[in-house]
Amino acid sequence: MADRDYGFRTRALHAGNVPDSATGARALPIYQSSAFVFDDAQDAAARFALQKYGNIYSRLANPTVASFEERIASLEGGLGAVATASGLSAQFITFASLVGAGDHVVASSNLYGGSITQLDVTLRRFGVETTFVASDQADDYAAAIIPGRTKVLFAETIANPSGDIADLEALADVARAHEIPFIVDSTIATPYLCRPIEWGADVVTHSATKFLGGHGTTLGGVVVESGRFDWSNHNFPLFEDTVPHYGGITWHGNFGEYAFLTRLRAEQLRDIGPALAPHSAFLLAQGVETLPYRMQAHVDNARAVAEWLEQDARIETVRWAGLPSHRHHDRAAKYTPAGPSSVFSFDVRGGRAVGEKLIENVQLASHLANIGDAKTLIIHPASTTHAQLTEQQLADSGIGPGLVRLSVGIEDVDDIIYDLDQALSAALSEVDA
């Protein structure tokens, strides 16, 4: 083993995938097995008691899934990772491990619609109250914290469709001052563009379905933890209480910095069950191999498309923080120096009617409800992804009626611009007609 800190591109290819000891397979083997045999009764007992490492059942751990987990942990600079069936289940097991009835969450109002409903509908029904902060200032998050009741601070690195950038460093300071973890969903940024742990985040979640997998084929999620949060600070007694179902251990006492992720796997994956399938883990891990190259191409294309849209008279506003006109241009330069990803929105002059016609007239961009595909995607959020939200929630999320969201792909950029240009012309002539 070389004593060297390997670079991001090398780790995207190699982290988590040392050739298999059994076969020497160079590519990642797909361990399509629900369960794994024990050596003997003693071995079985020790695995179940968490006294030794070993596979038991693929809901808890699987060797193919482990490779994907380690790869993402390495790229994010985390201690480790737990993969899940989707991005929303990654968030759910994280919340489920940290909050219970009577607890309180402080979250951005700018979250993905599904994240808002997870907190505002399902977790609220379970007795967890969330305050959504409709501000980009860390002080307003601090003001929303209820000492003793607030257990987590939650935001997204890059919000969609507003294109807003979270002030990660300032929010991490707020969380640290209140001795609560700062959880960041970094789906849109990916670790190539921003590593929130380097700015003080404690837990990072992803929908791996998006840029990590990169090809629009496979659902998955992942939770990464820094290993730096002090889970014995008495705000999280579950980490310090004895655990009868694991022989009287305490999570923090027995596992130290490994406590959060060990518990997330041994309790939340065990009890809630959203495991990532081995075949999905293979596809996602293979996608990650080219993450650095794809993300660079995504941001390069996004810059060209955003600049073209901004100078076009048919467009009212472009909300990409890589543009000097965006209110978070300075934050983007600080947190995502290579560019704030390729998911952004724009308002067409003429409002909803022109926006809808534009989407009907594209020939290359795909009209669908996803982001982070290698292909360019387009959608009208107010009638689709964010349709569950009230008018006020839509306004808080920065979504107007004529807003169109793009996820710029890695096609030839001239072709993407050609397609938007012809679709805009066609939309305007149809609306005028």
């Binding site: 083993m1 040392v18 050739p19 298999d20 006294q51 482990a66 480790g80 990772a81 993969a83 027995n254």
Partner: protein
């Protein structure tokens, strides 16, 4: 119980719970640097036997987890040292390092930080080459003392975690092992 021995500005030493604010402050001012990942792997590769000093027969204690892991997931001959126990994990517990049937290649220590110097002396007396002080225990002066007597010292690291880092166990649980290699995983 994790404790840490810190040397104060006046030269006196004191014992602190490892999670106390003062211990955390001192942690940020540590100066002793232990073996690198590659060196830790070499220590583990070269060893054939491990003695766990301060081993506990209580299944909830970390030393019991380490004992179970080393017995079942490593090739080492494992010995338990605890003068107050007779049997641990089906094996005899020895009162001290002198009583072991062989000189252990690694002396793995679960004792208070202030006890580390005397464990170093015991290890030197029997001729053990390496002392591995467990996760959460820190005594910088003892580490320097052990090294001055020719011991290889690892400190504030778990031998189970480090063995698992290089032999697949940590990887199976989704942790970043830091291992990048085109060679087959060691068994």
């Amino acid at each position: 119980m994790s404790t840490e021995t810190v040397t104060l500005a006046n030269g006196l030493t004191c014992e602190l719970p490892a999670d106390s604010p003062l211990a955390k402050l001192w942690k940020s001012q540590r100066t002793w640097v232990g073996p690198s990942a590659k060196e830790r792997l070499a220590i583990l590769r070269n060893a054939k036997s491990v003695a766990i000093v301060g081993a506990s027969p209580n299944p909830a204690r970390s030393s019991y987890f380490v004992g179970t892991y080393l017995k079942q997931s490593s090739p080492y001959r494992v010995y338990f040292v605890n003068p107050n126990a007779t049997e641990i994990l089906g094996q005899p517990a020895y009162p001290d390092l002198q009583s072991l049937p062989e000189v252990p290649d690694i002396v793995d220590v679960f004792r208070r930080a202030s006890d580390i110097p005397s464990v170093m002396d015991d290890a030197i007396a029997v001729g053990a080459p390496a002392v591995w002080v467990q996760l959460g225990i820190w005594n910088e002066e003892a580490a320097r003392y052990g090294e001055s007597k020719g011991l290889t010292v690892v400190m504030d690291r778990c031998i189970k975690v480090e063995h698992a880092r290089f032999h697949g166990g940590l990887h199976l649980m989704g942790f970043d092992t830091g291992v990048i290699s085109s060679k087959r995983q060691a068994r």
